[in-house]
Structure formats: structure tokens, C-alpha cells
């Protein structure tokens, strides 16, 4: 299915849980925050939130800054 991740359209296999996607992308769930269709996803929900076609997802984390 198609979803938008950080502004880029992506094709991913479904069904897919958020936690799976994060792992697939090689990211550490502990240090990434997800905005799912504009809503901040509490970390506990990562394991249960199922992505569906057309979802818009923002994956954000800390970077060096002053």
C-alpha cells in the first residue's frame, strides 16, 4: 500500500504495524517520535498502531543543535 513518510510517498507491504515500519527503516523506536496523520503517537501505541493506505506519517528525532 502507499503511505507518505516524511513527505515522501512510499510503497510498503501491508498489514504493517508502526513498530514494524520503524524497525524496517532501521530506526530505534526509543529515539524516534511519530506523528500519525497529525497526531503524536504515544510510544506504547507503536506496537499496536496499524498503518493503513494513505496514512501520513512523520518520523522525527533529535539531532545536533544549539
Amino acid at each position: 500500500m502507499h503511505i507518505t513518510i516524511n513527505g515522501e510517498a512510499q510503497e510498503i507491504s501491508s498489514p504493517k504495524l508502526l513498530i514494524e515500519l520503524v524497525r524496517d527503516l532501521g530506526l530505534n523506536p526509543e529515539t524516534v517520535v511519530a506523528e500519525h496523520n497529525g497526531r503524536i503517537v504515544p510510544r506504547p501505541e507503536y506496537d499496536t498502531l496499524a498503518l493503513t493506505a494513505g496514512d501520513s506519517l512523520e518520523l522525527i528525532r533529535f539531532v545536533g543543535g544549539g
Binding site: I5, T31, V32, E35, I40, F62, V63, G64, G66
Partner: protein, 256 residues
Amino acid sequence: MLQIAGHRFRSRLFLGTGKFPSAQILKEAILASGTEMITVALRRVDLHDPADDIMGVIDREKYVFLPNTSGARDANEAVRLARLARAAGGGNWLKLEVTPDPRTLLPDPVETLKATEELVKDGFHVLPYMNADPILALKLQDAGAAAVMPLGAPIGTNLGVTTALQVGIIIEQARVPVVVDAGLGAPSHAALAMEMGADAVLVNTAISVAGDPVRMARAFAQAVEAGRTAFEAGLGARKTQASASSPETGLDFIRS
């Protein structure tokens, strides 16, 4: 000892983590600086470089973690970034930056005050980055800011405390800690800020772009201590007239 929002800091040097040549050098610079307060920014994950994760470098437990809202152009964007930072595990500390103009990166006094009010209500410890405006400092303090962070000079310029006159008034009036932020380009600048009575300084560019960032971090650490010690020890007054350091009498015998 310095206290902000009830937390005690032994080190009065706060460190920004931007623009370091490598994660390893950042790691060593953090240690060399002796800092206990570290700023980070929040950005989209670069999906093409998933492994580049600053949290692998910083021991989240050992430091007070101070996410900034850099990039925010108004209060709304800043508040949104602040909440994302908290969700990302950033805790309640926040360096509030509202800079509408990416060319000058100077703070917006009105939006900064607005965002401060909102984020304080929301339980954040807000440290607003601000122009060296003494009246604004009082307003931010009244709005519940945990500290105020007047700029010494525009971000990244290394020009030093160009706002000394205003910063001096801010320090004199403040009931919350004053942290001089931005533009400090050399240890002597940091020492000067501390001699003036600033409670702390935040440094990033001057350290991260130095020839040797790790040694420069150590240099700033020493300078901040030197400046603070001098402030506490009591600096001598400036004079316009010379006054001898050696005795002025007892030399008649050498007069030719």
C-alpha cells in the same frame, strides 16, 4: 550553586551540539566541557541515513537534556516542536527559539512571550532565547520562564557580548537565572559574561567549528569558571588614571 527549575548545576557552561565534525568529537567535547546541560534540535529522520542517531552519543541519564525549538518561526510552530520534543523523550526542559527570519536568526519578542506563556502552562521549564531587551526579560520572567537567555550577538557570529550594556541591566533586574546565549566566540567572551554576573552561558558554534573542538570545550570550561570566580571574588574598579603597583616612596637615593 546555580539552580534552574529546582535543578542544581555545578557547571555554568551549557553546550550546544550542532555542527560538530563527528559524533566521536562531540562525545569528547561534551566530556571536556564538563557541561551538565546539553541542547539538541528536533528534525525529521533522514530516511536515507537512519543510523545517524545523536542519542547514541549522549548518555540521556547523565545530562539535563535541553531540546530547542530552532526552526520555529512563530509561537504555534514552537509549541508544536516543544510537544514533539517531549514525546520524543526530551523531558520538560525547553530552549525556546522563535526566529521568523532565517537570515538573521534573531528572536521574535512577541511570539516568544506568547509561546512562553503557553508552554509554562503546559508544564515545560522554558528557557527563552531573546534579544537583549531588559523589559522583555522582565515579562518573560513574569510569564514563568525558568531562566532568560539574552543573546550576546547573532547566532554563529563569534562577535562576543556586543549587548553588554543591555545584558548588564537584565542581570541587575532578573529574579531568574540569566544565561547569555549566542555569539560568544572565544573563552574571553564567556569569561566577560560571567564577570558581569551572568549565571551561565550557552556555547555551540565557537566550540564545534574550532580547529580542535575538544580542547576548545576545555578552554571555555576554564574561562567560565574563571569569570564566575572573578565575579564572586570581586573585581577591582576601572580607573582612568594610572596608579603605581610598586611603592611610590623610598627611591630618593637613586635620583640622578
